[in-house]
Amino acid sequence: MWFPEWALRSPGSPPAEPRQAIDDGGRVVAVNPSGHAAGIRLGMRRAEAEAVCPNVVSIERDPGAEMVAFEPVVAAIEALVPRLEVAKPGLLFVPVSGAVAYYGGEARLVERVVKEIDGLTGGGYLVGLASGPFAAKHAAARATGEPPVLIVEDDADFLASLDIGAIGSEELVATFRWLGITTLGELARLPSGAITSRFGAIGLAAHRLAAGSDRSVHARSIPADLTIEERFDPVLDDMEQVGFIARAMASRLVEGLAAVGTAPYRITVEAEAADGTTRSRTWRSADPLDDGAIADRVRWQLRAWVEGPGAGVRGGLAALRIEPADLSDEGRQLALGEDPGKDLATQRALSATQAIVGIDGVLMAEPQGGRDPIDRVSWHRWGEEPPVAQRDTSAPWLGGIPSPSPALVPPEPQRLVVEWDTGMPSRVRLGSRWEPILSWAGPWRRLGRWWQGEQSADRYQLVTSAGAFLCEVRGGETWLIGIYD
């Protein structure tokens, strides 16, 4: 549910009056239809907007005050559907899968919610219903009718027709347009591997959004002990003091999460009053929250509880808890010597290399289990998610070749001419010359899948004065499978 002009709401103001909300940086962050008709656009500087429309009423944004005003709306919806998430004052996401069944269908649920909100706000809302938050927000933005509701049956179908600008990142959008990709559907139809290889993680995220697969399905598990709690004795009743403490708690939370390589997309703020009552609210963000953003949301929420209608925090604040949820890995602590600027340079260099040698020419490797050196490496293209290891590295792998591993392994076994003397290798042909075998080890027997026609093979390490070689003997022939270079 989205109130696009929530920041512009002011009791008693005529609806036809052009209004704009200005953020700390002096830019327009919200404008009503009258202002939009007069030529004001989001992102404009205040002076520029006032030059375009001299009679516009400018409102300095105060998210805390907006949240105080928004809290009754949140509470009213929460009474109907629990576990909702606030993205910002004026925008909230409500998980409805359970509620749809309870109320007997999507239409009846929406009708019930709208009836509740109509009486409270007098309109100005948009409702979108979809499988993911990204599609739901864009559905709300396109909702028409009375009440303005749009129910999306298939996220991917709905998103396919949207303009590529919906993904948000201006630079990425400009590049996509330059490449001739103008809709989310065109982006979604491209192979994710190609997008990832060309644009990296940001491209992958955009592709997922375009395909209707929001990141929530990729949420990571939350370590149990990361909730930050602070108890106060005596209880706190000064909002400024609470603000400082919230900042410190947010820093501790982010530090704790960074240690395990995560950052939260959602946080749940829980306040315990002196009389023992507890209130909680979940906040959601499109990007991972940092400590400043978390502290802001805690402060806004407490102010909304204290100053808004309802019981408030009776007797003062006895305890405050911040619980992280829906973790991403974007808050990862950088390693010693790791440089975010260098990472970007590396991505650019590898992308440029990929353009030269082809998408299959830039590779990463991950260890996996196996008996032969070639089996113990799992390859994937750079920029793509590593595949799940097919074989367990910790399994015993009887018959495996012991370390050290050969540094060079031919992609296909190479024929090797070895002279055997009473079952023991005596010399090997290297190019045009014969090299005597100084020592040898093995065999390590590999039993092939005989039911699939595979032959068993014996692997030997052969040592000559020109180096050591790993070879296998199968079907009476010797094959080179590694060079210890």
């Binding site: 990472d343 040698v357 020419g361 990463m364 540094a407 060079l408 050591a468």
Partner: protein, 265 residues
Amino acid sequence: MIISSSGASPRLISDPSPVPSEARRRGSKVYGHEHSLTPLPALRAGLPQEPPSRPFGSDSPQGGEKQGGAIGLPSLQPGQVASLVGPSGYGLTRLGLAMLSEHAGPIAYLDVRGWFNPLAAWEVGIDPDRLHIIRCDDILRWGRAAAALLDGVDAVYAEVPGGVKDAVIRKLGALARTRRTVLYLRPIQGTVPAGVAHLALEGQAVAWDGADRGHGKIEIRRSVVMASGKTMQGMPQTIEMEDDGSDTVRVVSGMGLAQPGLSTG
């Protein structure tokens, strides 16, 4: 353990043929040394037995271990070039990987033959997340790919395909200096043009210990490498290196480097 050491003498051990093949085949049993390592008779054969005269100011016969990088060779500064020349099997790939492992940031391996096995890199301590493998067997694209890599990683290990012009390699050396990226060049055939490499390593001989006629497994590689170039301060050295597979490659003898700022006279 100091096994052997030598001053500059490129001819000494390049051809192990003076030692009878039968004797070499017998390995440590023939020579009966008490320690478990093969005494490298073939390698010793041409080396002078006297320790080299150490440069003035060097306080250790293995001075390289104190003054050089983690593996004992002189550390390359950002923008410097090393060359590793010698036949496959002399341990130069592993030596190059050991030198690559000293870089903390992202590194790239330009694989011309498609034979590179990352297991060897992981064994010398290179994190899989830092290692990018680029496969390119096209001579024309090879130079462009190497140049692109020099722009964004800490170090590039580039196999050099046969037929690449010297001018291309010189340009890459200059680009590495500009981008402050360490470049390791490993020619598949031939050598690196003179004056490009700050540290030139040439494989001379190799011997393995641990395997015997069907028993054991290969465990320790001892290789002899000729080191020269600007980082050797004009004094080529024959050095002996040891690689036990579980740890990084290390210099065991022959590195007596002068300390910067001191001179002999």
